[in-house]
Symmetry: C2
Subunit: 535 residues, 2 copies
C-alpha cells in the first residue's frame, strides 16, 4: 500500500489548517485529519476571490482570440499537486471536478514516493540540472525507479517522440502497449479495441462499426451491390442506409453531428445544428431515497423500457432501422441520472431481442471512479455489451467491441492518427498504479465516506440538498434550482473547493482516483459551513 512507502508522515489536524473551518459544528469524524503533507497539500489556501485579478486579466486576453466566457479561472499547473488545483492568483483549491472528470490519478500524483501518470513531468524534471532534479525530488518525490527505467528503454522513448499514423505505420510496441493498457482492463467479452483521439470520435466510430455490422447482417452472404457503392457516394440509400441509433433524453454522447443526434442534455449543445430523426426514449427519473420508492421507481423504469421497444417498432415501420442503442451507465452531463442495474439488464435484453447493438458509453463513468473499472460491470450482465466507448480518464479515446463488430475490411474505421501512442504508454502506467494502489477499492471507500456525509447534510439541509445519489466517488445531489446551484458552486470555489454542475440543478463530484476519505471529510466540513451560512 502507498502509505507503507511514505518516507514520513505528518499528522496534523484540520483545525490547525484553515480559516475555512471556523463556521459550523464539526460533525465529521476527525479521522479525516490524518494527511500526508509531505506529498499532498494540507488543505485549501485562498488568497483572492476566484477568478482573481490575474485570471481576469488572462481571460480578457484569451477573449480577444476566442469566446472565453466558459473559463472558470487560469491554472498554475506547476504548483498544482495531488487533489489540489492552484490558480494563477495563488489560490489552492481542493479539486472535486478534475478537469471535467478527465484526470485519472492526479495532476501531480503524490500518493507515494512518486507515481506515474505525470510521465512528462518526470521527464521534464529529469531534464533539468541534477541539482534541480534533486531539489524536485525532495520537494515532490519525482523519482520512481520504474519510471526512470521506462524512460531509458529506447522502444518507449520513441513512442513519445513521433506521432505516427497508427493505422498504417504503428510503432513496434503498439500491440504490446495496448495489451498492457486498454486490453488489461477490457470489459468481459470484448476482445477488440480501437483507439481514437477523443470521446466524440470514439462514439462516432462506434456508431459506424455498429452500422456496418448491422448492414452486413442484413446483407448476409450477398456482395455489396454497384448501386450501394454508387449511391453512398452521394449520401443516398441503399449505400447510406436509413439507420439510426436510439438514445435517451438527458443523455450526452458528444458534440460532433452524429454524436449530437444522440445527445439530449442541454439545448445550448444542440441549438441551430441540423440533426437526424433518430428515436429518443425517456430515461427513468428515479425518486429518492430509493428505499422509499421501490414500486414507483420500478414502474418508472418499466415505462421507459416499454417506450424503447415501442420506438424501435415505430421507427422500423417508417423504414428507419434502429441499428443500436446507446446509453450511459449514469447520465452525467444530463444531471447524474441513475437507473437500477435491473433496468440496464432489461435494456440489454431488449437490444438483443430486436437485433440492435448495445453500446455503453463509458466516456465519463469509465476508469474506476464508480468502484469498478467500468461502471457497467455493476450490472452483472450475462451477455456483455456489444461496444463500450471510453475517453477522459483513459487518456486516449477509443472503443472496445465484440469480435463480430470488427470491420470486415481495412480503412473502414480509420483516420490519420487513430489516437496517440504516447497516451497508451502513459495509460499503461496509470493502470499499473490503479492496480498496485488498489484504487478501485479506494473509490468505493472514499465514495462511501462522501455519500454518507452528503446524506447527513441532506438530512440537515433538506431545503438545499435533495436526491443525494452516487456510486463510488461518482456522487451528486440536487439543489432547488439553477440559481442556487450556481451560487453554491461559486461560494464553494471561494472557500477553496472546485465543484462541477450538471443537468439543470445538480452538483456532481468527479474527483481523481486518489481522492481519499480525508479529502471527503475536508470537503464535507467546508460545505457544511457553507450550507449553515447560505442565504
Amino acid at each position: 500500500m502507498a502509505s507503507m512507502l511514505l518516507s514520513r508522515q505528518l499528522t496534523c489536524c484540520l483545525q490547525q489548517n484553515s480559516r475555512l473551518l471556523v463556521f459550523g459544528h464539526r460533525y465529521i469524524s476527525q479521522a479525516a485529519a490524518k494527511i500526508d503533507v509531505d506529498f499532498d497539500y494540507d488543505g485549501p489556501l485562498m488568497k483572492t476571490e476566484v477568478p482573481g485579478p490575474r485570471s481576469r486579466e488572462l481571460m480578457k486576453k484569451l477573449n480577444g482570440i476566442q469566446n472565453a466566457e466558459a473559463v472558470h479561472f487560469f491554472c498554475n499547473y506547476e504548483e498544482s499537486r495531488g487533489n489540489y488545483l492552484v490558480d494563477v492568483d495563488g489560490n489552492r483549491m481542493l479539486d472535486l471536478y478534475s478537469q471535467i472528470s478527465s484526470i485519472p490519478i492526479a495532476k501531480l500524483c503524490q500518493s507515494k514516493e512518486m507515481s506515474v501518470p505525470q510521465l512528462p513531468t518526470t521527464v521534464l524534471c529529469c531534464a533539468l540540472h541534477p541539482d534541480r532534479l534533486q531539489k524536485d525530488k525532495e520537494r515532490r518525490g519525482y523519482s520512481h525507479p520504474s519510471l526512470i527505467k521506462l524512460l531509458q528503454q529506447p522502444q518507449n522513448l520513441s513512442t513519445f517522440i513521433n506521432r505516427p499514423a497508427l493505422g498504417i505505420l504503428p510503432p513496434e510496441n503498439f500491440t504490446e502497449k495496448l495489451k498492457e493498457s486498454l486490453l488489461s482492463v477490457a470489459p468481459k467479452g470484448l476482445s477488440q479495441v480501437m483507439t481514437m483521439s477523443c470521446g466524440s470520435c470514439s462514439n462516432e466510430n462506434a456508431f459506424k462499426a455498429i452500422f456496418m455490422w448491422y448492414r452486413n447482417k442484413e446483407r448476409g452472404h450477398n456482395n455489396v451491390t454497384k448501386e450501394e457503392l454508387e449511391s453512398c457516394m452521394i449520401n443516398q440509400p441503399p449505400g447510406c442506409p436509413d439507420y439510426a441509433m436510439l438514445s435517451f433524453m438527458g443523455g450526452f454522447h458528444g458534440r460532433t453531428l452524429g454524436c449530437l443526434a444522440t445527445t439530449h442534455s442541454k439545448a445550448i449543445h444542440k441549438l441551430d445544428i441540423p440533426s437526424l430523426d433518430w428515436p429518443i426514449a425517456p430515461f427513468p427519473r428515479l425518486k429518492y431515497p430509493l428505499e422509499d420508492f421501490v414500486k414507483e421507481n420500478q414502474q418508472e423504469e418499466a415505462r421507459c423500457l416499454e417506450e424503447v421497444e415501442d420506438l424501435i417498432v415505430k421507427y422500423r415501420k417508417k423504414k428507419k432501422i434502429v441499428a443500436g442503442i446507446i446509453v450511459e451507465p449514469i447520465q452525467s452531463e444530463g444531471g447524474d441520472n441513475h437507473a437500477s442495474d435491473d433496468f440496464f439488464r432489461k435494456l440489454r435484453d431488449i437490444a438483443r431481442k430486436h437485433g440492435c447493438a448495445f453500446l455503453v458509453d463509458e466516456v465519463q463513468t469509465g476508469g474506476g471512479c464508480t468502484g469498478k473499472f467500468w461502471a457497467h460491470e455493476h450490472w452483472g450482465l450475462d451477455d456483455p455489451a456489444d461496444v463500450v466507448t471510453f475517453s477522459k480518464k483513459m487518456m486516449t479515446g477509443g472503443f472496445f467491441h465484440k469480435e463480430e463488430f470488427r470491420p470486415n475490411a481495412p480503412y473502414r474505421i480509420f483516420n490519420t492518427w487513430l489516437g496517440d501512442p504516447s497516451k497508451n504508454l502513459m495509460l499503461a502506467e496509470v493502470i499499473k498504479v490503479i492496480k498496485t494502489e488498489d484504487l478501485l477499492n479506494n473509490a468505493t471507500h472514499a465514495g462511501k465516506a462522501l455519500l454518507t456525509g452528503l446524506l447527513d447534510l441532506q438530512a440537515r439541509y433538506p431545503h438545499l440538498i435533495s436526491r443525494v445519489r452516487g456510486r463510488g466517488t461518482f456522487c451528486s445531489f440536487d439543489t432547488p434550482n439553477d440559481a442556487t446551484r450556481n451560487k453554491l458552486i461559486t461560494i464553494a470555489r471561494n472557500k477553496g473547493v472546485v465543484l462541477g454542475g450538471c443537468g439543470d440543478r445538480s452538483i456532481r463530484f468527479r474527483p481523481t482516483l486518489i481522492f481519499k476519505d480525508h479529502h471527503a471529510h475536508l470537503f464535507l466540513n467546508i460545505f457544511s459551513d457553507i450550507l449553515a451560512n447560505f442565504k
Copy 2:
C-alpha cells in the same frame, strides 16, 4: 541557414550509395549527391522485402485485437531520422508520405545542430544519464540551447505535465502559446482560433460555428424562441434547422458523420453509414498539360461553378438552406485534384453572393508544403475565407475564423479537451524552425526539382505517368489504373521509397518540410529505374 550551422559536411556521391541505382541512365543532375550524412541518412538501405518477417509477425499479433489489414509495416521510430523511416526489419526508406502528410518537419529533424519538433525526444534523451545524453548529442545532436531553456521554464514544463480542460481551466500561458503558434501564421483576416483534437473534430466544429452564424443572421435581433429550445432537444426544426454544407464530389473532409456527409472520395469511407441530404457539386476535372487545355479547363471550371449556384438555389427551394461551402485547395484523398486560383476566387464570390460561409479545409494542404503556409494564400482572395480548418502538420486540430463567426455564448463550441496544449507548445517551436530555416521557400524549391523530374519521367514513360501536377512539394501524377499504381507503390517501397496513393489511380507526394532538392533527385533516380524496368 541550416547548412552554415552544420558541424561538418560530407560529400558523397549517390553512385557510391546503393545497389538501388544500378539500373537506368542517370539523367538527374548529380548536384543531388551532396548530402549531410552527419544528420541525415545518406540513402535507403533495404534488408528484406517490406513488410519483412518481423513486421508480418507484429501484424499478425495486432490483427488479433483489431483489423490490421491497412498496416503497411511496423516502424522503428527510434532509428528513423530526417527524411528516412526505418522499419522493424531494419529497412531504411526515404519517406515521401510522412505519416499521411502529418509530420511537419521530420520524425527526427536533423537539419541543423538540433531542431525542435521532436521536443519529447529531447526531453526524454535529456532525462537519461549525462553520459548517454552526451552520446546522443554526438550521435544525433539533441541539444539546442533554446530547447533546454524552454524545458527549464516552469510555465512550459507544466504544459507538458497536465492535460487540462482548456475551455474552462486553461494554463497560464495558453493565450501566449496560441499567439506564438497558430496566430503567428493565421490566414489574413482571421483573428479567431479554436483548437481541437483532430481534423474531423475541426471540420465538425467549423460546421457548427457556421450553422450558428447562419441562424443568428436569420434570427436578427429576435431572441431564441421557446419552440427552438424545445425542438432542438428532440433533433427537430426549428431548433435543429434544415441547414446543409455544400461539398464537392471527390472531396475528403473527415469520417465522423457530419464530415462524412461532405466526404465523397471513396465508397469504402461511406458505405453503410447513414448520411444527410446535402448538396454535392462536381469538382473540375482538369486536363493536362494545363497550357494545352486552357479553354477546355476554363469551360470545365465554369460548368462546376454554375452547378454550385444551381444547387444552392435548388436546395433552398426545397427548404434546405446551404449555410456554407466547404472545399479543399487541392482535393487530396480524392486524387490530388487541382483547380485554378481563378476557380476558387469565383467560388468565394458565389458563397458571398448567396450568403453562405466559405470554409477552406487545409487539414492536408496547410502547414507550408505548397510553398505558402496555407495553400489558399496562392489564390489572392480579396475577401478572406470565413473559416479555415487545420490538423496534421499543425500537430493540433482546430480552425481559424472571422470575428463574425464567433459563438455568441460560452459552451456552444466546446468539448472536454479542446485540443492539447502540449501540441501548441511544440507547434510554436516548429513554426519558429519553419521561419528560421526558410522552409516555405525550401518547399517551393524542392517541389520544383520534384515536379521537373516528374515531368521528365512523364515524357519518357507516358504509358505509366500522366497528369503530373503539383504545388510546392505537394505533387502527384496518375498511373493507368489502380493495379499499376499499387504495384508501383509496392516496388518503390521495396526499393526504399515510401509513397502514398490517392484517388483511384494517383500517386501523391507528401514529404516533410525538410525534404530538399537532393532527396527529390534521389527519389527520381530510383523511380526512373523502376519505370525503366516496369513490366
